[in-house]
Assembly symmetry: C2
Homo-oligomer: 398 residues x 2
């Protein structure tokens, strides 16, 4: 049998990273690999109340088909929450999605023809890269520093490529680097997008998880002509297992996303949408987010302090003011994929950074998560990782 | 601003049908339009028990990220239930999807290049046509009768087209016609698929809802070389709002679907998967399906009896032995889209059949749902529809 698959399947073969990560779910592993929230903070008791109340008050509706766009009261509440990132929105500006990953897939479907270029940060989010690759695009990576994309590099690359169709950025506590864009870079990105008449996909799963400093305005809040598509999610501020995210965009673009959602899965889970809405009616989501931030802030500080103590000085890393990740850069001779295998022998895991570069290279990088492990395991895991890194760095010196 | 959308968006503009259907959600409307289950049969009390028990026993896991493939015990239970359609499967052969609509979208993504042909029944399911159109395919419609596709027509069309990539069929209580394929046609379809080395997507949302007669073996159960991709769902046997469906396919093909799921939305709702699994642990899903069948059987019989009494003799319709729909054919001069507007004036709704023909035509057809409305409204709605049809048929005679 020689059944033919579509050409796009060539570009989205199961990644070796995914196979590697399967090794990290063993219970004895101290894993800094996933982007997993701390499960001990999930509001389990509240969810019990909410689930029963939704079924009692609107069981038939919660279990029946419902509109593609999403449950109207939840759309309204999300629109109101967009005020946190400086955006004035109405319920009609919101489409409920299955996590923000679905928003990424839809962005690819709505905007990308085969061969088109997506402009993204170097490095960028692995899951977005994979979602876009299904639409057979190419990537232009723009150099970044601690304030976001280098705008000069962005402008040069936009000027020298014809079929750029979309700019994709994660301006707040970026995945994988943990860095946050300055206000000036946000404004200048938007200017460049305007000049080349490009849509900007602003992915913001972590923005609410700021440990220090003031929240910066989202790029969407600076958008005067409706070119920014904002992707949000409750995965990091509430629970990822419920798979509730959203797209906020102007009508003409949002309608395209809604049409795509109709064909992709008709609608998101009716009951879950009502549960989330009910949670926000009965409880204080902001207070819940404060609790999460406090725990993650402590874990961030502890992890970075421990890294300072146990990592070789040849290894540098970011100091994130929010979100879930720090990003380490090793001497260029080292390959983090090899180190990952050695780390797993010591029952500790991270994600080798190479996969976050869509055009390859920079294998001397690591994404390290601090949200998921309790404090004692953070210390123990970083110690073990330090041993692996010291061995590797010392071997270079010989 | 002139942001460019992908070429594929040309083919999937929001359908006029969808706009029409928005008119049918007013509470005073007797709607035979949707494919909605009877909400009074939803196991609301049982869902309360199940939701609380899942949160008590495994709250952290239910709210956390979980594997793309799905919750292992649920995959095992679904694999076991595949025995009902004659298929011997293991949990590893199952991918959990967001309803079977997501399985349709993934089939398009996995198999279709722009310009490729999908072979389907004439008429076929509107939602599948829309899902596939996003991959810029073309359609070959094969003539059907009360036993399924006319195999001679299928073979002629396969012989005369080069780039056919996939055959899509709904052999049990088809949407929209309510018809069921004979065993012989199932076998001959598979022979043709083998001859041309094509995958067969077998969509089976209604198979368990058989009112009379013996269940026929699924095409998947006759498949000896792993070319059949079976799509199942709990939307009709349990609750559609929970959005749980599945794909059952051989390893090489299923792995492609899993890779696509990873990029599309990472995974389906962890909590819902556990709830469904827990429901099957605590309660008897088969007994629940028996209850649904009994109610739908009565509604089917009542609707068809009422149609016999009130529809003009120039209108013919199918007599389904299961599922949710009957299919009416009007004199060729009549256009069901026009009649829909007249029906809505009388507060009754159906779906005009033209949209179920991917290449257009056959506007003299109607899909009529009997599962969603209680018996008194079925009688009243069919009477009103009869008035609309009599007026239209009489006008032709003048």
């Amino acid at each position: 049998m020689a059944i033919k698959f579509a050409d796009r399947m060539e570009g989205i073969k199961a990644s070796e990273i995914r196979e590697l990560l399967k090794l990290t779910v063993r219970p004895e592993i101290i894993s800094f690999a996933g982007g997993l929230p701390a499960p001990e903070l999930f509001p389990i008791e509240e969810m019990k109340v909410v689930a029963v109340k939704v079924l009692e008050e609107a069981g038939r509706q919660a279990l029946q088909y419902s509109p593609t766009e999403g449950f109207a009261p939840l759309r309204d509440k999300i629109a109101a929450r967009m005020g946190k990132v400086g955006v004035t929105a109405k319920g009609n500006d919101i489409l409920i999605t299955t996590g923000s990953q679905q928003g990424l897939d839809f962005a690819g479907k709505v905007f990308l023809n085969p061969g088109d270029y997506v402009v993204c940060e170097s490095p960028s989010y692995l899951g977005a890269i994979n979602a876009f690759k299904a639409y057979q695009c190419q990537f232009i990576e723009v150099e970044t520093d601690e304030d976001g994309m280098l705008i000069e590099d962005l402008e040069n690359k936009l000027a020298s490529h014809d079929n750029v169709k979309m700019i994709y950025v994660i301006p707040d506590f970026q995945n994988p680097t943990g860095r946050t864009w300055s206000l000036e870079r946000r404004k200048r990105l938007l200017e460049a997008a305007r000049k080349y008449d490009l849509p900007v996909v602003e992915d913001n799963p972590y923005g609410e998880l700021r440990f220090e400093g003031e929240m910066l305005p989202s790029i969407k809040s600076l958008d005067t002509d409706g070119r920014v598509i904002f992707l949000g999610t409750f995965s990091k501020t509430f629970c990822p297992g419920l798979r509730v995210g959203w797209v906020c965009a102007e009508e003409g673009i949002l309608n395209k996303f809604i049409t795509v959602k109709q064909g992709a899965d008709l609608q998101s889970n009716s009951m879950t949408q009502r549960e989330l809405d009910m949670f926000m009616e009965l409880y204080d989501l902001d207070a819940h987010v404060e609790k999460i931030k406090e725990v993650y802030r402590q874990r961030r500080t502890l992890m970075l302090d421990t890294m300072k103590q146990y990592f070789p000085e040849e290894v540098t890393y970011t100091y994130p003011n929010g979100g879930l990740f720090t990003w380490a850069v090793l001497p260029p001779e080292l390959n983090a994929r090899d180190l990952m295998l050695k780390a797993i022998e010591k029952n500790v895991a991270f994600v080798p950074g190479g996969s976050f570069f869509p055009n390859g290279g920079q294998e001397n990088t690591m994404r390290i998560n601090y949200s998921n492990m309790p404090e004692d395991l953070i210390v123990e895991g970083i110690k073990r990782l330090g041993e692996v890194l010291h061995e590797a760095v010392n071997a270079l010196k010989k």
